[in-house]
Amino acid sequence: MSVDAELADELVAAVSTWVDRDVISQSRALEQADEFPQSMFEQMCDFGLFGATIPPEYGGLGLDAITYARVVEELSRGWMSLAGILNSHKLAVAMITRFGTPEQRSRFLPRMLDGSFRASFSLSEPDAGSDTRNIRCRAELDGGEWVINGTKMWVTNGMRSSLVMLLARTPDDRITCFAVEKAPGERSGGLTISRKIEKLGYKGLETVEMSYADHRVPHANLLGGDKGMGEGLRYALSALELGRVNIAARAVGVAQAALDAALAYSQERETFGKPIFAHQAVQFMLAEMATKLHAARLMTYDAARRYDAGERIDLEAGMAKLFASEAAYEIATDAMRIHGGYGYTTEHSVERYYRDTPLMIIGEGTNEIQKLVIARRLLERMRERG
């Protein structure tokens, strides 16, 4: 559903006001304690963010990609991890909406509206990140149920979620997607959280290793029904396409926070008898940061708008993710330079931006992989044009 411009602005403004009032002031302490932001999570539920992209026929708001990207940007301006709490859920919603059977859509989507039944997304393995063909986790059919065995890596929201969109190898030697229901917590049936991964940034929410030992999943939970056999990777990569727009939006949000902090600090801090803003070297840095940020934002919005218009966006989404994540990393680094020694302390948030931005370079397909995708698509387009 496309949202009219004025309404979209109001939705984004609501989140933005909350971020300014309640998130920015509280996120540093929570992040330093690596504590789950329970009350922020609850406010996100109250806004209705978990159901925001679910189609109205299942009780959601059917929010368009561009408005959602702007919401992600605002959340990330406050604390990038908040967008992370939403992101895997959003990927699962996209996969179920697009590829689930009607029965699966009406069974899962209404439960996914209010944040009480959250989803995680589980493609990566210890030895299969970029190289998704190398997936080893296996699913075998036994008496009408699928039996899962293997280890998955990097499952963000893996412990608190109630649903895992799991990619596993089926006996046809292809990758199939299962909607694995589980109880939140350390263990559920044959599924165990085998490790909580300690991270450089992206704190407050868990990223875990998950082990399956004869964990049983009903056949009804094979995404797409019988037609979904062997289609898992296609489903996942399709959802990740929009996921990349949201990664770009996150990068834009963190970069905005870094620029805001640098701009403010440059007027407070004085050296050689004047605010550091009066030094041209600092002005140049700020000008370049703002220019990169502006370009990143336009690319992100452009990819989202094309998605809403029904266009194929692998090229634009890849470009937006590549450019915005690199820009955010550079902007965060420059913000730290502008803060001097104080930027290196935990008393300012710029050190967090510096730690959070590399994730956007690596996650949802590394930037090297983005370049491969972009180049491949360039060639395809050239051939299409003849």
Partner: protein
């Protein structure tokens, strides 16, 4: 609950003169519609932006986007909580000379059910009493069980409108509420005071001004924001309220703004080095300020 209200009204010691109004409310209550709460809200220029004066130099320019006065958001929140607990509805009443509705929409998005907006060119320049007359006339049509207001607006600061509305409607007025309970004895209000709080019991209907900060105004949900646009919003003119233009606006105002001058810049303050006797200096300063 309805029965208990009427009982409380009979026992009430607060005099009331506006009989037809009360009778009408009783009649409506018997139809089991729950408590109807009106909240008077004002839209003001965003205090985050630097304020500007109109060409005449005597009033605040209001030609840009207006937002809901934050001090009104507490009344809205309190009304929503009361309506959620007791069942009922929340109606916003606002005077909006320019016809702007953005701030009202914020309160509708928070969950208020409907809005009554009085917009008329003749309203420009209304003083506090003029505003109270307009709001009272609109409230008389709305017939709420309870009227909530802020203690004062952020851009006007007279703090007189709530009591004036109560007087015009011949209703009890309770000011500076920190909590409001609709209970078996009508209304129980805890009223903020320097020494703590007063407990005031009063019958309904009543006008209660709500102190800023006593509840935490909710953020509007996405669904609320989307629904706000289609909620019933009644636009009224002075004629629709049966008021004469001469009673309000510049012509009706009984107060004249002689001059407006900027707030003096804050001075540098006094910096005291603590040489071990700092506490004595602090006590002396507090005594000078007569706060001890």
């Amino acid at each position: 609950m309805r029965q208990r209200h009427t009982h409380a009204q009979r026992r009430s010691s607060v005099a009331r003169r506006d009989l037809p109004f009360r009778v009408a409310i009783r009649g409506r209550r018997q139809h089991n519609q729950g408590v109807k709460i009106a909240v008077c809200v004002k839209q003001i220029p965003d205090p985050a932006n630097p304020g500007r004066l109109d060409a005449d130099g005597k009033t605040l320019a209001r030609d840009e986007k207006l937002i809901l006065d934050e001090s009104d958001s507490y009344g809205v929140e309190m009304a929503l909580q009361l309506a959620e607990a007791a069942g009922g509805e929340v109606v916003l009443v606002s005077m909006s000379p320019t016809g702007e509705v953005g701030g009202i929409r914020t309160a509708l998005a928070m969950g208020a059910d409907a809005a009554v907006i009085i917009s008329d060119d003749a309203l420009a320049g209304s003083d506090a009493l003029g505003t109270a007359k307009v709001l009272a006339a609109a409230l008389r049509r709305t017939q709420p069980d309870l009227i909530l207001t802020a203690t004062e607006s952020t851009d006007g600061y007279t703090g007189t409108v709530p009591a004036q509305i109560a007087e015009l409607l011949s209703l009890p007025s309770v000011t500076f509420a920190k909590s409001v309970e609709v209970g078996s004895d009508g209304l129980l209000v805890r009223r903020q005071a320097e020494y703590g709080y007063d407990e005031v019991a009063c019958p309904l209907p009543a006008v209660v001004s709500v102190t800023a900060g006593v509840v935490e105004p909710r953020y509007p949900s996405f669904r609320g924001i989307m629904a706000a646009k289609s909620k019933p919003t009644e636009m009224l003119t002075l004629a629709g309220l049966g008021l004469e233009p001469s009673e309000v606006g510049w012509t009706g105002a009984r107060q004249r703004i002689i001059d407006v001058s900027p707030v003096p810049e804050r001075g540098g303050g006094e910096i005291c080095e603590d040489d071990g006797t700092g506490h004595e200096r602090i006590v002396a300063l507090l005594e000078e300020l007569k706060v001890l």
